[in-house]
């Protein structure tokens, strides 16, 4: 099962690397939004009392990581749906391969892609002067956190992909996750929000994940950051991978 999972993960990574056009949005858009945020609120934000970072750029790093990872994880699930649409899925299920390795391999690649994206984003932000207060541990915290977020989101979308068998349906569901991101503290601190927006951001797990990631950058290393930036996506990943595997068994049980 491990060999099979690794082989499918490798295939998935090869696919990502050989379609640079599918990776481009996951790098370009988050950096664009970060640049837009810095030029719009850069000066004003840091004058706000209690602003949780040295600069708006340092503040926006975590949001950029999550945005990028969301794009990447959706693309991985979309590839799974393309396998179903294009017939490669049947090639896999006509073989004696362990069924779960087909999905787990794809999800494992989302972890790797998410982690690499997080590392690249953080490196870019550091090149522009962002200091990671958590040191190497903080850097690793963001990178692994990015991987776990990729895993959690890819699991959810892989479930949709397997159930719908349609890459268009997967891409159609993507804005829903993006709405969750905008209704979180990814782009603005919660303490300055008010009304329903604040309530939604408070209960939105994305806020807590992004804040955990952010604290790896803005604060010295602490257990709280791991609990939110790793713990929440890891917990969601357990549920979403379960959903994906259940969808797989459902699809295979009623062919």
């Amino acid at each position: 099962m491990i060999r099979e999972t690794l082989a499918f993960a490798r295939r998935s990574l090869i696919g990502r690397l050989r379609q640079p056009e599918s990776l481009a949005p996951s790098f370009v858009f988050p950096l664009f939004f970060a640049a837009l945020g810095v030029s719009s609120f850069g000066k004003a934000a840091t004058r706000l009392p209690g602003f949780p970072a040295d600069s708006y750029l340092a503040f926006s790093a975590a949001g950029a990581v999550i945005q990028g990872v969301l794009f990447g994880a959706t693309a991985a699930a979309s590839d799974l749906a393309t396998d179903i649409e294009g017939g490669f899925w049947e090639r896999m299920v006509a073989s004696p391969v362990t069924r779960s390795s087909i999905v787990v391999g794809r999800l494992a690649s989302s972890f790797v892609v998410g982690a690499v994206q997080a590392a690249v984003f953080l490196a870019v932000f550091m090149a522009f002067g962002v200091r990671v207060h958590g040191g190497i541990g903080g850097f690793v915290g963001v990178v692994v956190g990015g991987g776990l977020i990729g895993l959690a989101v890819a699991g959810l979308f892989a479930g949709f992909a397997i159930r719908s068998g349609s890459s268009e349906a997967v891409q159609g569901a993507f804005p829903l996750v993006f709405v969750l991101l905008f209704l979180s503290s990814a782009f603005f601190p919660r303490q300055y929000m008010s009304g329903w927006y604040r309530h939604v951001a408070d209960v939105n797990p994305t806020s807590h994940v992004v804040e955990g990631l952010r604290q790896f950058v803005t604060r010295p290393l602490g257990t709280q950051q791991f609990a939110t930036a790793w713990g929440i996506p890891a917990g969601v990943a357990v549920v979403s991978i379960g959903f994906a595997l259940r969808s797989l068994h459902r699809r295979l049980a009623a062919p």
Binding site: R3, E4, R11, I14, R18, A94, P96, V97
Partner: protein, 312 residues
């Protein structure tokens, strides 16, 4: 007694109210090439998908390589090679990478991956293109790679679902040669096709399926013989038409023909041609041109279904 590699009894598959396969019985013997012939939507691919464990039958039973396709699906999968319609191959990977992935999927030991991959690439003539992305391959190259992929674990039973659909004549002939060669090595082959010539060229036996039911099954020659005797058409001088007709009458049923042409259904089969020529010669009838028309599988198809497959 050893079980035949492919046995199906009363196989049925429904999709809602639509009955795609309606009680198919098959028995394919060791080392046979079996052609499954029918138009699009006749139930060929659905039958193959049940036999290859991709679809669960609604009713009936089937065993492949001695194992039940539902209860022992994994055992079946280990022993069969499957090349499905449309050659679903990841265009982003190279031929060599796909063979390595397929080797993992079929549990080949790691040390064998490269050797077996190279062996198959050479076999299907893709060594030079092995490290190119499949997206750059022609249709024929994809089909050949698909065949190579299906052979990675040396299957004893091979399913080829419309292996040459959309291929040019040269690619088609290359693939036929490869199928024959695999069969000589002992692989039992079930191939579906809508090309009569393909079934005629390759298959030891054929089954004709229409609306989910097998309407004829047997050796192509036997099936064609059942349709009727071969017809011998002879062009003679118009003035000798009557003499020619009298000479031919004893060889079989005369066919209606224009003046200067006579036709007879040869009761004795093609071997009766020499005797017909002698009879005409004895009566002094000069032969300008002759042709022997053997019944085709399309005639068999038309006789069984009421319509022709060619052009269907």
């Amino acid at each position: 007694m050893r079980t035949a590699p492919i046995v199906a009894t009363g196989l049925v598959r429904r999709f809602g109210d639509v009955v795609a396969v309606d009680g198919v019985d098959l028995r394919i013997e060791d080392g046979e090439i079996f052609g499954f012939l029918g138009p699009n939507g006749a139930g060929k691919s659905t039958t193959v998908r049940m036999l290859t464990t991709l679809l669960i039958p609604t009713a009936g039973q089937a065993s492949v390589a001695g194992y039940d396709v539902v209860r022992q699906a994994d055992e079946v999968r280990r022993r069969i090679g499957v090349a499905l319609q449309d050659a679903a191959i990841d265009p982003l990977m190279t031929g060599r990478e796909l063979l390595a992935l397929q080797a993992v999927m079929y549990g080949l030991p790691r040390r064998e991956h490269r050797r077996r991959g190279d062996e198959l690439l050479e076999r299907v003539g893709l060594t030079a293109a092995a490290d190119r992305r499949v997206g750059t391959y022609s249709g024929g190259m994809r089909r050949r790679l698909d065949l190579a992929l299906s052979l990675i674990h040396r299957p004893t039973v091979l399913f080829l679902d419309e292996p040459t659909t959309g291929l040019d004549p040269m690619s088609r002939i290359t693939l036929w040669d490869e199928v024959r060669s695999l069969n000589r090595e002992g692989t039992t082959v079930l191939l579906t096709t809508q090309y009569l010539e393909e079934a005629d060229q390759l298959a030891d036996r054929v089954a004709i399926i229409d609306h989910g039911r097998i309407v004829r099954q047997g050796e192509p020659r036997e099936l064609k013989a059942q349709v009727g005797a071969p017809t011998l058409w002879i062009d003679v001088d118009a003035a000798q038409s009557v003499a020619a007709t009298e000479a031919l009458a004893r060889f079989g049923e005369l066919r209606p023909a224009a003046e200067g042409r006579v036709g007879v259904g040869l009761g004795a089969g093609a071997s009766g041609v020499a005797e017909v020529i002698r009879a005409l010669d004895e009566r002094g009838v000069g032969v300008r041109h002759l042709e022997l028309h053997e019944p085709s599988l399309d005639d068999v198809f038309a006789e069984a279904t009421g319509y022709h497959l060619e052009g269907a």
